[in-house]
Structures are given as structure tokens and as C-alpha cells.
Amino acid sequence: MEWSALVQYVLTGITQGAIYALLAVGFNLVYSATGIINFAQGEFVMLGGMLAVTCYSFLHLPLWLSAILPIGVVMLVGAGIHQLAIRPLRHAHLVTLIMATVGLSVALRGLAKVLWGADSYPLPAFSNVDPVALAGASVDPQSLWVMGVAAVTGTALTLFFRYSLTGRAMTACAARPLAACLAGIRVERMNMWAFALAGGVGAIAGAVLAPIALPSFDVGTSLALKGFCAAILGGIGNNAGALLGGLLVGLLESLGAGYISSGYKDAIAFLVLLIVLVLRPQGLLNVTMRRDES
């Protein structure tokens, strides 16, 4: 076994894992607030990447602005989805709501295909420097961006939920919607914020991933499935778990592709998902099942 190869696989795994962790955080945001598994989360990432490319290549905006602008746009998309499709269904069964997000994800994917066609578009790396050598392997600077952005986003969200009034109100809604409502918190508005934030986190992931994996209209599904595996693995609703789950899925996938079979690489995450569902459905970090939906 080559030492440098192992380091390379681990680095790739951590980079990919950071993206999955961001997706898992997006799933958690919506799930904690509403109990909904938001199947459009992957499309948020796809939109983030596609919009960044559009801003840069077609509108000729500076790269930093092209990466930041989509965040606001996709936050609006998230909020709009909540207002147009989720809010009217707020008295419906949870299954109905989950299916509505499936519908929205399909519609967004189709819309992206109409707007951008079936091509993938490149985005230049954020820093124009040479790969860094580390223990015989080379670290792509964009990988460092991915890890850094994921860490900053995770920290920012943690601080937001702990210290800001809106964040604390959202936490209250997630814990006990009725009690929060009685305390004067506008639950529907907080739910809208949850969707908007999920959109924002998705767009961040999409923009930072774009230089590594070229975005095209259909990248959302597989990313969402992997991010979802990460969320379940860590324990859905648990953000520390999302990080752990994301890194585990990323590492298993990368090591599996390196040492077992690259063709079955994508199956590894799903196999892990099935095993976790059988052995520990509450996830690695959650002690008990948080929600008891029927």
C-alpha cells in the first residue's frame, strides 16, 4: 500500500465530506424547524453552482461577487418555495409535504435544464496558486477553500442559533412549535427562514464546489442523496452529527473508490445508509429518536 496514495484518498475524502456535511446541515435546518425532509436541498447546491458560473462567465462579474451573489438568490428561492408550496400545505400530512419537496426539486431541475441546457460549465479556482505538497500527496488549494468555507459556515450557523434572537426563536420553534407560538414567535416566518437558510447553505456549497466538480443541471440528485446519507448517519437534526456523517461518507467513498472499486463508489454511501437504518436509525450521535412522526 502506497502511503502517498492513502494520504491523497483521505484528502479527497475530507474535501468531498465537507460538501456532504454542508448538505447535511441544509437538511437539518429544514428538518429541525418543520420535520420535513427537503428533497430540493440538492437543487439548492446545483443552483448555487450554476448561478456562480453564470455570474462569472456570462455577466463577467468578479469571481468573489459571483460566488457570493448566488447565496442571496438561492435564499430567496428557498423562501419562495416555502411561501408558495410548503405554507399552503401546512395542515397537510408530513408525507404530503415531503412529496411537495420532491416535486419542487424535480421542477427546479427541469427549469435548470431549460435555462442552461445539459452542459457542464467550468468555474476557475478561488485562489490561483499551485497545489501544495503534503506527505507525498498534492493538496488542491480549492480543497482548502471547501474545508475552510464548510468550517466557517458551520461555526457561523452555530453562533447564529446560539446568540441571535432569530436563531433562538428558530430553535424554540424546532423544539416546541406550539409553545413558541404562545411565546409570540411567528412559527411560519421562522419556517420560511429555515428554508431560506437551507438555500443559502446550499448555494455556498454549490459555489465552492463548482471549480472542483463542474456544475450541470443534474448534479443535485446524487449530492442530495449523499448529503442525506450523511445527515442520517450523524443523526438527523444534529449539526455535529452532520459534520461527522459528512466526513465519514466522504472518506468511505474515497477509500472505497481507491481500494475496492471505483465503479461501486456511489453505492458505498447508500450501503452505509441502509446499514445505519437497520442498526442505528437514530444516527451515530443522537441518543434517542428526536421526532416521533406518524
Binding site: 408550496a85 399552503p88 424535480v106 427541469g110 435548470a112 435544464k113 445539459a118 412522526e293
Partner: protein, 355 residues
């Protein structure tokens, strides 16, 4: 009563169509409506009956198709036997995934089936020693009845619609049976159903396995009809299409999934035709599926086909159209009905009595 007449009407219409229409184009669409209808019927039983969603039904459909393809081309197994073996294997796979996930409350089945469906398609693509990989398996033999190979659209149509009719009869009887009542009860309120003595995980598992078997048989039919299978039709996209079919038609009625399958299959044909001339129609088709799904959930949750029999419980008029979908459990809900009714005509059911 009304269901019986509906089935007779369906049989007459299908018979007339089969006798009058000769064009292979229309017969081909009709065959696909029946095949899709069979999968959607099974999914509808799961969704309407047990209130669970499967996001991997395309995988079960694919398992049936590949089981038939592999068994008949590699080992020369009789096509009918291959269809049965495929259904058996698919049922086992479904049971393996369903058993742990259906014991939990919530939507773990959706996640489990999602993962399973993804794995199944990856295996179809990668295990090229057995499945020939992305290029697929060709020269699958036709099904034959008494030495007559079902090699034309016309002959095949006369196989699929009676099969679909039989499946609908089976589904209808299932809904009327003790299991059906148990399912309707747990679909409304699991706790109440469990308290009334319904073995909730077992009832859910039964209908899930049945719906997987329906999908598998439909997959076998697909394989023997086209005589060619490749991995691409059995992915996540088709699982979503199936979901749209069921929601569009209405999951609470037996006819709903068939109506949905009909509309979507025709829509697909029309849009695919348009996509030849205008490439962006390809994306519009996907948009249409998503928008139809959301609009129907919001504005017509009961689907196109109104339920043939009125639900046992009536919900008070809610402030939102979506509220009609899930009737508020009342004293007259099936769960309470089960608790109140004698279990097999003699003694009153006590809590804890297995269905």
C-alpha cells in the same frame, strides 16, 4: 358494487380497444399504460393504504426486468417461471429492507428505498459480467401462451390488460379485507390502530412486499415485451414519475394510480415527440412533472379519480384544500371501527388481538 361495475367497464373498454385498434403506435402506448399502471397500482396501495412512500420502486421494477432477462437469456429458464422467480426475489429484497425500516415510525422506508433503488441501478451498471453493464441485455425471449409467442403489440396487449384487471381485483379485495381495514386504520392514526390490535409493522410490511411484487411482475412484462433491458429506465427519475402518477390519479382510490399512469404515459409520449423538434422541451417535461405534483398536492389532493367509495370518516371542512387529504380521526374512523366491530363475526375484538 360500484367497483365491480368499474372493472367490468374497464374490461369492456380494453377489449374494444384491443379489437378495434390495430396501429402499433397506440397499442404500444396502451401496453405501457398497463405496465406502468401495474407498478403505480402497487405503489398506490402502499401510499394510500399504509401512508408510506417508496422512493425506490423503479428499483423493484428493474429487479423484475433484470431477473427475467438474466434467467431466460443465460440459463434458458422458462419466461413464466423467470417472472415468478423474479417476483419472489424482489419480494424477499423488499422484506429485508422493509422489516427494519417499517418498525420505526416516520419516513424511514422512504430513505431505505431511496438507498436501495440507487444501489440497484449502480449494480445494473457495474456488474457487467451478469448484466452487460450500461449496454444492457438483448434477445430476451417472448412470453408465450400454449405455444403462441406474444411477439406483437396486439397479442401482448391481450396479456397485460387482463393481468392488470386481475391485479386491480386483488388490490380491491385486499382493501376490503381485514388487512385493508387495518391499513386504512393505521394510515389515519397509527397509535389508535395499534391500540385496536393492529400489528402495525406487519400490516405495513405485507402491503410493501405486495407492492414490490407488483412492480417486479411489471418489470418482467417490460423485459419480455421490449426483449431488451438497460439500466437507464430503472433510476430515481422513474421512481419520481411513479410517485407523480399515484398523486395525480389519487392514492386513496383504486383507479387513481391507473388514471395517473395513463395521463403521464401519454404526456411523456407527447412531450418526448415535441422534444425531438425543440430540445428544450426535454427540460419542460421535467418541470411539468414537478409542477403537476405540487399543484395537485395543494389544490386537488384527492387526485383526478375521485374515490369510488366514500371514506369512512368525514373531515370537517378545513381552511385549506390540503386539509381534506388527511381526515381528522374521529370516533367513526376505521381504527375505532375495528375496535368496535366483532373481529370475525362472533366475539368483539379485544385490544391486542392480531389481525
Amino acid at each position: 358494487m360500484s367497483r365491480g361495475w368499474g372493472l367490468v367497464l374497464f374490461a369492456v373498454a380494453a377489449l374494444a380497444f384491443g379489437l378495434l385498434v390495430r396501429g402499433p403506435y397506440y397499442l404500444n402506448i396502451a401496453v405501457f399504460i398497463c405496465i406502468h399502471g401495474l407498478v403505480a397500482l402497487g405503489l398506490g396501495l402502499l401510499m394510500g393504504g399504509a401512508g408510506q412512500i417508496s422512493l425506490g420502486h423503479a428499483g423493484f421494477y428493474g429487479l423484475g426486468a433484470y431477473a427475467s432477462a438474466i434467467l431466460t437469456t443465460r440459463w434458458g429458464v422458462n419466461p413464466w417461471l423467470a417472472m415468478g422467480l423474479g417476483a419472489l426475489a424482489t419480494g424477499l429484497v423488499a422484506a429485508l429492507v422493509g422489516m427494519p425500516t417499517l418498525r420505526l415510525r416516520g419516513h424511514y422506508l422512504a430513505m431505505g428505498t431511496l438507498g436501495l433503488g440507487a444501489i440497484i441501478q449502480i449494480v445494473f451498471n457495474q456488474a457487467d459480467q451478469i448484466t452487460e453493464g450500461p449496454s444492457g441485455i438483448t434477445a430476451i425471449p417472448y412470453l408465450s401462451i400454449a405455444g403462441l409467442p406474444l411477439s406483437t403489440d396486439h397479442r401482448f396487449f391481450f396479456l397485460v390488460w387482463p393481468l392488470l384487471l386481475g391485479a386491480m381485483l386483488l388490490g380491491g379485495n385486499l382493501l376490503d379485507s381485514r388487512l385493508g381495514r387495518a391499513l386504512r386504520a393505521l394510515g389515519e392514526n397509527e397509535g389508535a390502530a395499534a391500540a385496536a390490535g393492529v400489528d402495525v409493522p406487519r400490516a405495513k410490511l405485507a402491503v410493501f412486499v405486495l407492492s414490490a411484487v407488483f412492480a417486479s411482475v411489471a418489470g418482467s412484462l417490460y423485459a419480455h415485451y421490449l426483449t431488451y433491458v438497460s439500466p437507464s429506465p430503472f433510476g430515481f427519475a422513474f421512481s419520481i414519475q411513479l410517485l407523480v402518477m399515484v398523486i395525480l390519479g389519487g392514492e386513496k382510490s383504486l383507479w387513481g394510480p391507473l388514471v395517473g399512469a395513463g395521463v403521464l404515459t401519454v404526456l411523456h409520449q407527447v412531450l418526448a415527440g415535441a422534444a425531438h423538434q425543440f430540445p428544450f422541451f426535454d427540460g419542460l417535461e421535467t418541470v411539468a412533472y414537478g409542477v403537476i405534483l405540487v399543484l395537485f398536492l395543494i389544490f386537488r389532493p384527492q387526485g383526478l379519480a375521485a374515490p369510488l367509495r366514500k371514506p369512512v370518516s368525514t373531515s370537517p371542512p378545513g381552511p385549506f384544500p390540503g386539509a381534506e387529504r388527511e381526515p381528522v380521526p374521529q370516533a367513526s374512523s376505521p381504527a375505532a371501527e375495528i375496535a368496535a366491530l366483532p373481529s370475525d363475526g362472533s366475539e368483539p375484538a379485544a385490544p391486542g388481538v392480531k389481525p
